[in-house]
Every structure is written in structure tokens, then in C-alpha cells.
């Protein structure tokens, strides 16, 4: 029995297989609508994350399975003081697989150690969010037709953005990847990520504070949300918008086949006018997220 806690739990071959499976589901959804008949997915969401939870639930429903769970730690037994370990054991008796979201790093790992069913980490604190990373990888593969030999710009909050760190980690295992890290100085990729990921693999990277300067080179632009509380004043907005806001004029000098990704929700880093641009992939990305979760559920449940 396998669980998915960290993206590194999967080899690149396994990730490729998951993506093959997701692409097959996209091509032939009718072949999969009964694959999980009689199976149940429990969604244990100790903090609200509507998008991720609904994506998991939609994935299981489209496989013909059923879902149960809670969407807020306050309404669960956790409010009465039950440990994660106990919850994991109890839920193992009710469901066939579980997805767990928790504000504390490591909580999904504790659940996996105590559950008798597969556990999927649906995000733990600022730590890991492997299904988002799988979503990003599938989006890149679908849009670019490959996962190697790409110049990938990551833009915005690269310090606190865990999706960015996971994506760096996952992409660093492919050949010919060049990262361009675009952020204001105060939101650069932390040193430990640089030493652990960027300076070990066979990849190249550069840091800049100007999206405008580097956008012509990019195959993929991964935008991230810069949280309101980090920049609040109009003065900061004006000062920093050239760094992390994808203003329409930047698209003029971007490649025609650029793919713009964003894990969503966005704030104002991508103006609405760009939503209809052929290069905008962030709404499609949401859809890919459901398909890759379907593939993952099938794999962990060992359904053929």
C-alpha cells in the first residue's frame, strides 16, 4: 500500500506513467467512469481549501466512487482533541483512500504511518503540496508537449510559495531545464532551496527582479500570488508591479507559444484582460488538476 506525501515519493517514471494515465482519461473518459465503483474517498480538510477539496471530490466522483469527509477542522473530532494518528485509524475503517489537508507540516505523514489505507497529502502548511505539483507538470506536458528542454520563469512570491519549491524540485529531475526566478528582493527563493535543489541538479538558473527583461526567453511562465498582506500600499504596487504583475504590454514581447500558469487563486498579478489570451493556461490547469488526481487515485488504489 502506497501513499503520496512528498513529490519525491514518486520516481520520474512513475510521474510519467501518472501523466500518461491522465491523458488517457482526458481522451477516453467513458472508460474510467466505473473504475472506482464501490470505493470511497475521505477528504480530511483541517483548513479550508475549497478548490483542492472539490478537485479531489470531483476526481473520485468521475471515477464512479463516493466521497465523505469534512472541510474545516472546527467541525471535526480534532476540535475535541483527537490525534491525527487516531483519526487516520478511524477513517481507515470507513474509506478506501484519504486526502488530508492540514496546517501543520508533517501531519499527512503521521496519518500515513497510522492509516491502513493510502493517504494523499493535499497540502501541509508551507511544506508540501504534491498534487498541485503533479497538476503543474501535467499542464506543462499538455501545453508544451514535453517536460524537458524548457526555460521556465517563476514569478512573484518565491519565498513563501510552496508550490514554487515543489515545482522546482520536480522539474529539476528533467534534462535541459533552465529556471528564471523573478521576484522582488524581499521575496526571493530561500537559501536552503537554492542549496538543496538548484545547486545540485543538472539545471541552470538565474535570478532577476524584472519580468520585462526575461519574458521573451520563456517557454513557461509560472505566476504566483503575492498576498495582499505582503504589499498593501499603492506605492508598493506601483514600485513592484513591474516585477511581479503580468501587465498586457509584457505579452507583446513574449513568445507566441508561451504558456502562462498560475496555481490560483490570483489577486491582481494577472489582469482579467489576459484571461482570453491564447497563452493563458491557468483555467485549463484547474481541469488538468482533476485528471491527474483521478490518475493518482487509480494508482494508489491499484485499480487497473
Amino acid at each position: 500500500m502506497r501513499s503520496l506525501i512528498d513529490i519525491l515519493d514518486l520516481s520520474t517514471e512513475e510521474i510519467d506513467q501518472l501523466m500518461d494515465c491522465a491523458e488517457d482519461i482526458i481522451a477516453n473518459p467513458e472508460l474510467y467512469e466505473d473504475k472506482c465503483r464501490g470505493k470511497k474517498l475521505a477528504t480530511l480538510f483541517y483548513e479550508p481549501s475549497t478548490r483542492t477539496r472539490l478537485s479531489f471530490e470531483a476526481a473520485m466522483l468521475e471515477l464512479g466512487g463516493k466521497v465523505l469527509g469534512f472541510s474545516d477542522g472546527q467541525s471535526s473530532s480534532a476540535a475535541k482533541g483527537e490525534s491525527i494518528a487516531d483519526t487516520a485509524r478511524v477513517v481507515s475503517a470507513f474509506a478506501d483512500i484519504m486526502a488530508i489537508r492540514h496546517p501543520k507540516e508533517g501531519a499527512p505523514l503521521v496519518a500515513a504511518m497510522n492509516a491502513t489505507i493510502p493517504v494523499i497529502n493535499a497540502g501541509d502548511g508551507g511544506h508540501n503540496h504534491p498534487t498541485q505539483t503533479l497538476t503543474d507538470l501535467l499542464t506543462i506536458r499538455r501545453e508544451k508537449g514535453r517536460t524537458d528542454s524548457l526555460t521556465i520563469g517563476l514569478c512573484g512570491d518565491l519565498k513563501f510559495g510552496r508550490t514554487v519549491h515543489s515545482l522546482l524540485q520536480a522539474m529539476s529531475r528533467y534534462d535541459g531545464i533552465r529556471f528564471i526566478l523573478i521576484s522582488p528582493e524581499e521575496l526571493q527563493v530561500p537559501e536552503h532551496v537554492k542549496t538543496d535543489i538548484l545547486e545540485t541538479g543538472n539545471l541552470s538558473y538565474m535570478e532577476t527582479d524584472s519580468l520585462m527583461q526575461v519574458i521573451p526567453d520563456l517557454d513557461v511562465l509560472y505566476m504566483t500570488r503575492v498576498q495582499r498582506e505582503r504589499f498593501i500600499s499603492e506605492a508598493d504596487y506601483v514600485r513592484l508591479k513591474d516585477t511581479y504583475i503580468l501587465t498586457p504590454d509584457k505579452l507583446k514581447i513574449a513568445r507566441r507559444d508561451l504558456s502562462i500558469l498560475h496555481p490560483l487563486p490570483r489577486v491582481n498579478e494577472i489582469p482579467s484582460l489576459i484571461d482570453s489570451d491564447p497563452r493563458a493556461c491557468y483555467f485549463k490547469q484547474v481541469l488538468y488538476g482533476k485528471y491527474i488526481r483521478m490518475a493518482l487515485i487509480l494508482k494508489l488504489l491499484e485499480v487497473d
Binding site: 505579452l251 484582460l273 482570453s276
Partner: protein, 426 residues
């Protein structure tokens, strides 16, 4: 009054030139570098700003007479002036419908007393826009920009054939709202992915292009000059492309919302409802291609204001139509020019010179010495969020509310008379 505009990037003869403009007696009398100012001149320093030939919108609903709670000729032309327009053509779905000289006079009277910029009314093709009996086309031809039954398609082929013959004899354009009502199927948004997913009744693309196809055939028979209003589907674009290649006298317009939205960006809000509806992504892309290759001649807004209540019924129950004048240029500039889809020159041609030429409105040669001073000045660096509450138009419903755009209109002149001046920036 004499005006001197200094240091502007002026669009003239198909290109931008940095120069000064002297405007006297409603005419541009000089266009050259470093024109000296004298005491009798009012001077505008438009360094880093742009001066365009005034825009012309051949498709607006000014709602008067008949529906002044939605818009008036006064409020509509003020909205147009503050957005860079120096001419608009007003659609005939009014009460009374301008289908006779007497009915048209009612509208012309209001235009004469209230319009801030020139308004060129359409005459109806059929009596009461009912599609049966032709209007008094001969009587009104001299006072109308063109003939149209906008808001409805002319369902009967025989009626359209007869209208085209007479329009041809009168040397007037037929501007057709193409919609085959037999194919509507009770729909109210585009029949596409969004309608399917959200269980809405969809309007098929065919309801538009079937009638475009029929009319092109009639143009082939009659030789009438023909214009398709608010093209929204890729099939229509292709039909018009072929008609042009064949040498037929056919033109068309589309609107900003068809170029910047597609049905997967809809939400269940009256702000997204108009007719024809926002179509699919493929339709949007083919319209942009049509703009680039010249198939789509011009961009009009289909400015169609309604009251707040009339737009509050979601996609199902709201009335068709959105307010368009006051965000058209900034949206098109930011969404199409800034992102590199079309050059600024193309945009200016499509919202100013081509419509003026096709509808024989004054000033189709653009900015030139000796020409009418119908101009507008823009600051293209000014960035802001569209806020419909600040619109002058009585219609506040637009899907683009809150969109961040660039391009602020600083000044609009009609025959050398100031009809809009941005006070904040003065």
C-alpha cells in the same frame, strides 16, 4: 477660438508623427514641428500623448425617442465624447421606429437640440422593424446613415431582396442584424460548453451565419452595398472573407466583447448578456484573425444601455445589451495592442477611418491640413480600473467592470469645438 496642440504623437496618413497642430475655425490649419504660440491660442502640451482622428461608432443605441430611462441622446453623446468619439450612428429600434419621414423627424429634433457630437441615425428597413412591409426608404434616404432593422433580423428573404434593390437604387448601405429566428431554439447565450455545463438554452452559431450566407447571395443578385452588424461567429467571418474575395461590396463590424471574451469566461450575470452572445474561444480567435487580415473592417461597440433592473436577471432573464462606449478604446488598446495582437495603427483605422469611409461620414481622410478638426487626445500610459459607476452613460452594465486598462481620453474636439476635456489632468 484657436487651439495649438504641442508635441503630440499625431496619427496622420497611416503613421505616427511627432508634431504640433494648429486648429482655427474648426479646421486643422497647420501640422508641423514647432508652431509658435501666440496670445490668442489656447495651448495644450501633449508631450508623450497621442492625437487620433476622432472615433466613429456605427452601432450605438441612444434609446431616444422611446426609452429615455435607459439612455438619452444627451447622455449617450456625452459618453461618446468623453471616450474619443466624434460621430455615432444611432440604431432604429426606437419608439417610434424611424420608418417614415415624420417618425425620423422626432429623433432628428432631439438630435438637433441635445446631441453633443454628430449623430447619424439609421433608418429602419421595414415598417416598425416588423420585417413585413418596407419602410418609406425613398423619403428618409437623404437623412439616414444607412438602413437597418437592428435588434432583429429580416426574416423574409423576399423582403430583404426588395430592400436591397431599393437601397442600391438609393445608393445607401444595408446594415444587417443577422439572426434567423427559426434557429434560436429559445436560447439566450451561446450554445457551447458553458451553456451545456450550466444547463442554459443556447443560441447556435448557425442562427447568425445562415442569414449572413443568405444575404451575401442577395448581394450577389442585387449589387447592393451590404454591411454585417456585430459579427460574432467564425463561420460568418469565413463567409465574409469569401464574399470579399469574390469582389462583392460587403463589409462588417465586430465589437470589443467578441474580441476579448469567450463563453468559458462567462458567469451567470446580466453583464455578460447581449445579442449576439459571447461565443466560443475559436470564434474569438477567428475574429481577431479577421481584424488582422482585413476581413473584419471595423469595430463598433453595440452600446446598448438598459436600466439596472433590466440587467439584474442573470443570464436567463436579463435584457440583451451592454454599455460599450466608455470602455471601448482602453479595452481594445490594452487587450489587443498592448499584448501585441494588432498594431495601434490598425486599431485607429478600425474605430475611426474605416467606419467613416464606409458610412460616408465626414472626416474619413483623418488628420490633415485643411481637414475638419475632429480629433481626440489620449494618454496611453494612464492606468486605471474600469468603474461603471463613473460612466456618464445611463447604462452601467458591462462585463469589463473592474478590468485594469490603459488609455485615458484627455480631449475630444468636433470641428474644432471642445466636447470633452479631462479636468483631472488639465
Amino acid at each position: 477660438m484657436r487651439y495649438l496642440i504641442k508635441n503630440a504623437n499625431v496619427y496622420t496618413k497611416g503613421t505616427f508623427i511627432k508634431c504640433d497642430l494648429l486648429i482655427e475655425g474648426g479646421i486643422i490649419t497647420k501640422a508641423e514641428q514647432a508652431i509658435p504660440a501666440d496670445a490668442s491660442c489656447r495651448v495644450y502640451d501633449f508631450s508623450r500623448r497621442y492625437v487620433f482622428p476622432g472615433f466613429a461608432d456605427v452601432h450605438v443605441h441612444l434609446r431616444e425617442p422611446g426609452f429615455s430611462y435607459k439612455e438619452t441622446i444627451k447622455s449617450g453623446t456625452m459618453a461618446a465624447a468623453r471616450s474619443g468619439y466624434t460621430a455615432v450612428c444611432s440604431m432604429p429600434n426606437l419608439n417610434p421606429v424611424p420608418d417614415s419621414s415624420a417618425n425620423l423627424e422626432i429623433q432628428l429634433d432631439i438630435i438637433r437640440s441635445d446631441a453633443l457630437i454628430p449623430v447619424y441615425p439609421y433608418g429602419a428597413i421595414t415598417k416598425g422593424e416588423k420585417g413585413r412591409q418596407l419602410s418609406d426608404m425613398e423619403d428618409i434616404a437623404g437623412k439616414v446613415a444607412a438602413f437597418s432593422d437592428d435588434g432583429k433580423g429580416v426574416q423574409c428573404e423576399q423582403v430583404m431582396l426588395e430592400a436591397m434593390k431599393r437601397a442600391k437604387a438609393l445608393n445607401r448601405l444595408i446594415a444587417a442584424h443577422c439572426e434567423d429566428e427559426r434557429l434560436l431554439n429559445g436560447g439566450y447565450i451561446h450554445q457551447g460548453e458553458y451553456a451545456r455545463k450550466h444547463s442554459h438554452r443556447g443560441i447556435p452559431s448557425e442562427s447568425e451565419w445562415r442569414q449572413v450566407e443568405r444575404d451575401i447571395d442577395l448581394v450577389r443578385k442585387t449589387g447592393c452595398a451590404y454591411h454585417v452588424c456585430h459579427v460574432s461567429t467564425k463561420e460568418s467571418v469565413e463567409l465574409i472573407r469569401r464574399a470579399k474575395a469574390e469582389g462583392l461590396d460587403v463589409s462588417c463590424e465586430t465589437a470589443p466583447h467578441y474580441l476579448l471574451l469567450h463563453d468559458m469566461l462567462l458567469s451567470d450575470d446580466g453583464r455578460y448578456k447581449m445579442n449576439p452572445p459571447i461565443r466560443s474561444y475559436e470564434d474569438m480567435i477567428s475574429l481577431i484573425e479577421g481584424i488582422c487580415d482585413g476581413t473584419v473592417d471595423m469595430i463598433a461597440t453595440d452600446h446598448a444601455p438598459h436600466s439596472e433592473e433590466e440587467k439584474s436577471g442573470g443570464l436567463r432573464y436579463s435584457l440583451n445589451g451592454i454599455t460599450g462606449l466608455e470602455c471601448a478604446f482602453p479595452l481594445l488598446y490594452t487587450g489587443l495592442v498592448e499584448t501585441g495582437k494588432i498594431p495601434l495603427e490598425t486599431l485607429i483605422e478600425k474605430i475611426s477611418l474605416v467606419p467613416k469611409k464606409r458610412f460616408t461620414l465626414p472626416g474619413d481622410e483623418g488628420i490633415r491640413v485643411g481637414g475638419r478638426a475632429d480629433i481626440t487626445a489620449f494618454d496611453l500610459e494612464s492606468e486605471y480600473e474600469i468603474d461603471s459607476r463613473k460612466f456618464i452613460s445611463r447604462g452601467k452594465s458591462t462585463p469589463f467592470d473592474g478590468y485594469r486598462v490603459k488609455g485615458k481620453c484627455l480631449l475630444t474636439m468636433v470641428e474644432g469645438r471642445i466636447v470633452w476635456e479631462d479636468k483631472e489632468d488639465a
